[in-house]
Amino acid sequence: MAGQSRPSISNAHLNAFVQPAIHVLATMVGIAAQAGPPRKHSAITDAEAVTVMIGIKGDYTGTILFRFSERLACRIVKNLISPDREIEELNSDVQDALGELANVIVGNATGHLDALGIQALMTPPIITMGTNVKFVFPETDELVVVPLATQDGEIEMNVAFAMQGPPMADDERRHPR
């Protein structure tokens, strides 16, 4: 919703994503992560090797992006699917595993948003590989970047959303995809 009624992304909104991200990375991947200070951005032009995008619709519409360096992507996928061998290329296993990881984080985040009174549904993940990519967001979206530091590098979590349209009807809320 454009104009003065559009609320900004608050710390509570960000924590709805940060807490699940740290929890999922620890329990599913076995990697400790620490959130750094959030930064406001208007666009993303320096893409990392792998970017996973998940759409949000409902009381808010927007996109959550997770950007991984090649080294960190391979480390995460090694922990997830093959602890006994190194992952040396960004293949379909990496796409699948990082897509599912992001799916679990954002799925958990919808529960945290629900606790804030915000209903949100999510779309299946879309994954881009390669650094020559520019992401442009709608002007109505507020974009906040939260770095998640790990011992193998940083995951950049980008939260871009805006409240648009009337809140979802009760019937839609109770029947997620």
Binding site: T27, D96, A97, V106, G107, M122, R174, P176, R177
Partner: protein, 124 residues
């Protein structure tokens, strides 16, 4: 006799993760499906003792697939496995016949607790 399971998830990694966990605990995984249509076909063909069903899948959701399987077999035991932690999601699944609900990320203990409750005792 080993219980026979069908694993449904669009993520190959998650299918493998669930298969490994089940087989480690004495379950025979007789089939794995990556989408809802394939799941219904495999259920008809294999008649497993229980199904683990991902909630969010492209094309046809786990909820729709659960409904189709329950229409075909009202006694089907289907355990939903989802990243959606909101209580509403579990309630909707139960309304249409899910036997259990597990939130991702899960631990082995959490999965075994649900299996013991809805499939029968003796897991873990």
């Amino acid at each position: 006799m080993k219980k026979r399971a069908l694993v449904v998830d669009d993520s190959g990694m998650m299918r493998q993760m669930i298969r490994t966990l089940l087989e480690k605990n004495g379950v025979e995984v007789v089939g794995a499906a990556e989408n809802g249509k394939q799941a219904v076909e495999l259920y008809t063909e294999l008649k497993p003792d229980f199904v683990t069903m991902d909630m969010i899948m492209p094309q046809q959701s786990g909820l729709q697939t659960l409904k189709q399987i329950r229409q075909q077999d009202p006694r089907a035991v289907v355990i939903m496995i989802s990243s959606l932690s909101a209580e509403d999601s579990a309630a909707v699944c139960t309304e249409v016949g899910a036997s259990g609900y597990i939130v991702k990320p899960f631990t082995e203990e959490q999965v075994l607790a649900v299996l013991n409750e809805v499939v029968g005792p003796g897991f873990g």
